[in-house]
Homo-oligomer: 243 residues x 2
């Protein structure tokens, strides 16, 4: 079984969504879960964690994005914030696998799931869910998953990591608010997983092909140079990275 | 009191959202409410209806929009579907007040609230909430609100209206799916409220100014010709129509 199931954290996201339906929730409210009983990964797959050993939380971000077309700036700000926090812990070979997976030494150690809600009355809000494998040691059958603890061979304080991520997030979200997005994009591209490396991909028709990741554009699309030297844009539904 | 409080229907939308968090919900699922006890208008205002006299329902639309930039096509398809159903009932002077209010004879008779959810894992779905004043007769203090029943001086069968709207919606959503959006945009522009008429507006700083609505662009922004003949784009948060 080759699917990485640690992708993203839905249940703290769901909690925040339900709260938002019922009452006023302040901007930058954080929901953190000591134990996730209902975590789901991408594609609805079950996600089992060793209780209490992973860091899972959601942050509400309101009215940051006033333009639908700017949605991916938030993804970049969040992914970069996580990577910066992990660099601080001296985790090596950190990378962001497009669009939002956190990698270290070629293994997946975290995932981000951002849910943007855009109403026709102009209200825009985003729920940012972040999941990081901190102190887990066992990843049965998940050969491509790892944790900070495995990589560094020590236990970590989840609350300290949370605080550092939130600090970075505050700073990077300010950059987006001030339309100074260049620095976070530069960082994002500098740690983009498998950039400039020939890689196999698979399209929605199940066809495999080779390509080289060039970069990610402002809309969040992956630009891949194909064998005929042309560069094609793909959104997340259109392509699978085979690695 | 001059605020129109019949804008949009949140509670069937909320019901659908909660359902989606809990279980698989089929595309084009419809939630219709005979009585809305928790309906909210725009800006969180309370919305009181005469029990059972309004048509309020929500429709789930999944994976229609594969590009974030195409979000407004759905708004257009929905607004046009409602207008077409009302033309069928021979309601006169129908118009769509940008972005999504349904007008007849200069009064508001319905509202649409679309909530688009876009996840970083590529999932896009929209919850389309539609509210129509069908058989209400009383709109205390709401001088700019009316109902189909008042306009036509007869009672209507809500279920028949619902069926007609859904039929139109099916057809118009097919157009969007087939990327043949020209016809619905043409219709939308042909019934755009106050198009080509000098009108007062107010910006976010409370400044009033005169302008003439030109059209709505593909991103859903309102293009207004100003007194200096320049044309400026506004999103829904940036402008208020004073009428």
């Amino acid at each position: 079984m080759n699917i990485i199931k640690l992708d993203a954290i839905n249940s703290t996201n769901d909690y925040l969504k339900t709260l938002l339906q019922r009452q006023f929730v302040e901007n930058f409210t954080i929901v953190s879960a000591e134990n996730q009983t209902n975590g789901r990964g991408q594609m609805g797959s079950e996600w089992s964690v060793e209780q209490g050993k992973s860091l899972t939380f959601s942050v509400l971000v309101k009215d940051l994005l006033l333009e639908i077309s700017h949605i991916f700036h938030l993804n970049v700000a969040v992914a970069v914030s996580v990577v910066e926090a992990l660099s601080f812990l001296q985790i090596k070979d950190l990378a962001i696998k497009w669009p939002n997976d956190i990698m270290a030494e070629g293994k997946k150690i975290g995932g981000i799931l951002i849910e943007n809600s855009i109403k026709s009355d102009g209200e825009i809000f985003s729920i940012v869910g972040i999941g990081l494998n901190v102190n887990q040691k066992n990843f049965e059958n998940l050969q491509k998953a790892s944790s900070i603890s495995i990589l560094k061979n020590q236990e970590f304080d989840k609350q300290e990591i949370l605080a550092t991520i939130l600090q970075n997030l505050g700073r990077n979200i300010s950059l987006v608010m001030n339309k100074n997005t260049e620095p976070i994009w530069e960082k994002y591209h500098s740690v983009l997983y498998k950039k400039n490396v020939p890689m196999p991909f698979e399209n929605t028709h199940g066809q495999k092909f080779m390509g080289i990741i060039q970069n990610v554009n402002q809309e969040g699309k992956l630009l891949i140079k194909l064998e005929d030297e042309s560069v094609k844009k793909f959104n997340i539904k259109q392509i699978k990275m085979l690695y």
